[in-house]
Amino acid sequence: MKSAQSIASINDFVIKFANVNGSGSASANELFARAVMRMGVPVAPRNIFPSNIQGLPTWYEVRVSEAGWLGARGGCDMMIAMNPQTWDRDVASLDAGGYLFYDSTKPMPASKFRDDITVLGVPLTAMCNREYTDPRQRQLFKNVMYVGALIALLDMEFGVAEALIVDRYRGKDPLIQANVHALRLGYDYVRAYLPCPIGLTIRRADAVGDRIFIDGNSACGLGAVYGGATVTGWYPITPSTSVIESFTSYCRKYRTDPDSGHARYAAVQAEDELASIGMVIGAAWNGARAFTATSGPGISLMQEFFGLAYFAEIPAVIFDVQRGSPSTGMPTKTQQSDLLACAYASHGDTRHVLLFPENPYECFTFGALAFDLADRLQTPVFVLSDLDMGMNESLCKPFDWDDSRRYDRGKLMTYEELEAGKDFGRYLDVDGDGIPYRTIPGTHPTKGAYFTRGTTRNAYAKYSESGADYVYNMERLRRKFDTAKNLVPAPVLHAASQPTRFGAIHYGSTSPAMAEASALLEADGIHVDTLRVCGFPFCDEIMQFIADHEQVFVVEQNESGQLRSLLINEGEIDPKKLVRVLHYDGSPITARFISSRIADALSDRKISPIRKVAS
């Protein structure tokens, strides 16, 4: 059946599971991914799913990479083809020499296969029907059974998967036994009837270390807990909803008063995104740390409130888990396309502070930091994640927290200061950093109250339509934004192995693909320094990086090059100097894509060496 050389690889390949949405495959697929990790081999799994609850095709892609590359790779070495609807394209998507695993209960005509792949059939349905009578059990255990089969085919340790099942269902012995039994059935069948292992194998390694495995949204929710958030107003929207689910579930665990059982937080599902950001702004005005989580359409709806919070100088934290846009766009696909909508959100001259985490670890740390920055700067702070980072579990360094750290509540004027007669001008730049002092409602019976408004006012918060008052305020806001430059996380430089005239700037979830692309390019003798931008406003180091290179590639996941536009606008950069490398079809950007685009661009400029990188 096979004529091409079968792919042979240890600890470095991509397996894709083609399933039907709602069939219970997710937990079985995750079991497989975790089993690989428990054998010390890093994995980078990704869900590719439709905007649908049940019945449509869904894929789970597991990249196995002992080298530790966590970006999407592209291609497919082995397909677990469990969805008849997508059979043809699943078979077609296999790399030559790849492996096709399928349910062989019903015979398939030869025309449905390819002659350059290895076909591995296991009669899963027949085995399930023999074993179980309940239709739901037949479905669920079929999933576990193919994991058992894979354990055998890839020469993995059965005990590792078994231990994972024991962990997962601890205390529920019947479930443990049933799942292990199904796992064993798949495993034993393969051992008895199929040649195994195949060319792809997992070999125990020690490349995972102490890293943890978590999705970005869970980490954002945890970051909000550690950042001291007590109020969230939110509205459900894919792919951000699980940020709130995570926050409330960690709050139930960590923020339930042990004596009274009362909650030290409040989460209110709002009627829409306008109300959710309104609640956040009301709570933050009143001195609580408050946040919301949303995605592109929500960002659009919240625009007016962002302008209010910017101009009235009220802290707010917004987790924007970006998805395919514009409009409803591709709700279950990833993009980095809200950058400009957030940076300049609302009408008039507004600028907002943005943080760009690269992985769940930074979703946690930047998420917590956002609350300090919002209080310090008295302005909305956006944490820009995306669907790829937010909804897929990823390996990252373990979370840490310095117990000596105290929340920075910013410039709050106290009862004592007011009582002592300290001058309070709500919009007065006392310290020259553009940041005024504020009072929290209820601070003092007769001093420090002021009227918050989105209309113009003087430095003492009195209504004013005077041009001079307006200009004073706008100039102060500009100074405040400059202050923010040095408060957002610094960019991360990765220098090429030798000096080069070329640089690449990227941010967020592009990071793992960019790191791998650099290595691919280096292997081909192309040297590119990379700089990962972690926040906006852009600090001087970013502009210096651009100045130091002849040509800078701006690698991002949107159609127009929004980061590039922002760099040009804010840094007054010659547009010719910044070359777009754009990936925006809704799938996560890959190292192969980045490296081939950069290699092509440099070969057009007759930069040697010009060997093309396979795409």
């Binding site: 909650a263 030290r264 109300a275 009072t439």
Partner: protein, 351 residues
């Protein structure tokens, strides 16, 4: 508009309340509304109510949206924090503020455009959620700042100053609030402070969402013949179901009423509402009856005022959310941050 600034110093014999404050301590900046605007009477009623109840001004947060009515919080309670937010969105901002600190009194001031037109969604949901607030709608049926367009509370068939007939059905915010679960619902008239002040006092002492729909004629754009929101029209069609007096636990009860003419309602905080019945059959504890009554009388062209409904055992949003007694904005780091040990344990679960 009031052109003369009020003198800062009062005579020494100006009446003081139990906190030692005079009425002046509850006033705000000088109003910039038109002379004779109903809204200024409402501001004065709020000042009177807060003075009478010995409310510490800094324990009140006053919030509004956009419009003539929403400008008024600048003109009362100058020692309270105020927030003039965005059009139609005061309810969500107030909700957030109330979540942050359950110990302040929340006073939302809005208009008919702000609440019934652009803000009807947020109005509805704040009522549903049981936000503990006094929500005053200064209802004149017209957009003042943009010069005389109809709002969503304007009666069908009423005539604008320019002579245009309104063909859209009106929204009755009091009826809507009843349907949506508000637990204190009243309607009043800015020209009748004797009725309005006690209604505001009762609302401020209520535990839950309290709506007062105050008909407040716009002297500039909606006080002509053919308008159903003019001073004359409202006076002629005002049908009060009761008169309220708010008795605090500390007050001696001296009033005497003929038997059957008084209803006594004890609120959650111990304050007592004395309702003198004007309509003997009207029952302010019957939500459905109240809705029916409003609709029947509206069909007859009457404007029903008074305390329309009160649920004295109401619970608010914080009890639904089971939040801690201490205001969330006062919880220290130690109560909020789980710390490094918890994180280490969590890390172990994530491997």
């Amino acid at each position: 508009m009031t052109y003369l600034a009020k003198p800062k110093l009062l005579s020494a014999d100006a009446p003081k309340n139990a906190l030692g404050y005079t009425r002046r301590d509850y006033e705000g900046a000088i109003s910039t509304l038109c002379a004779g605007c109903g809204h200024d009477s409402i501001s004065a009623s709020i000042v009177q109510a807060c003075f009478d109840l010995d409310i510490e001004p800094h324990k009140v947060a006053k919030l509004s949206g956009i419009g003539c009515s929403s400008k008024t919080p600048d003109y009362f309670l100058g020692n309270s924090h105020g927030f003039n937010s965005v059009h139609g969105r005061m309810p969500s901002v107030l909700t957030g503020a109330a979540l942050a600190n359950r110990n302040l009194l929340y006073l939302g001031v809005s208009g008919d455009g702000d609440s019934a037109s652009i803000g009807i969604g947020q109005f509805a949901h704040a009522m549903r959620r049981g936000v503990n607030m006094t929500y005053i709608v200064e209802n004149n049926g017209v957009y003042g700042l943009t010069k005389g367009q109809f709002s969503a509370t304007a009666d069908k068939g009423s005539k604008s100053k320019k002579g245009v007939l309104n063909s859209d059905s009106p929204i009755d915010l009091a009826a809507l609030a009843l349907q949506l679960g508000a637990t204190y619902v009243a309607r009043s008239f800015s020209g009748d402070k004797e009725q309005l002040v006690p209604l505001i006092k009762g609302a401020l002492r209520h535990n839950g969402p309290a709506l007062i729909d105050v008909l407040s004629p716009c002297v500039t754009f909606n006080n002509h013949s053919g308008s159903t929101r003019s001073y004359d029209y409202v006076r002629q069609h005002n049908e009060a179901v009761n008169r309220v007096e708010v008795i605090l636990p500390r007050d001696p009860i001296e009033t005497s009423y003929p038997p059957g003419s008084l209803r006594r309602i004890v609120q959650h905080d111990g304050s007592i509402l004395h309702l003198r019945k004007l309509d003997v059959d009207y029952d302010p504890s019957d939500r459905i009856g109240a809705i029916n009554h409003l609709q029947e009388r509206h069909a007859l062209g009457e404007i029903v005022t008074g305390l329309l409904y009160v649920d004295s055992s109401a619970q608010d949003m914080h009890s639904h959310l089971n939040t801690v007694e201490k205001p969330l904005n006062q919880l220290g780091d130690a109560y909020l941050c789980p710390g490094s040990k918890a994180l280490e344990a969590l890390n172990a679960l994530l491997r």
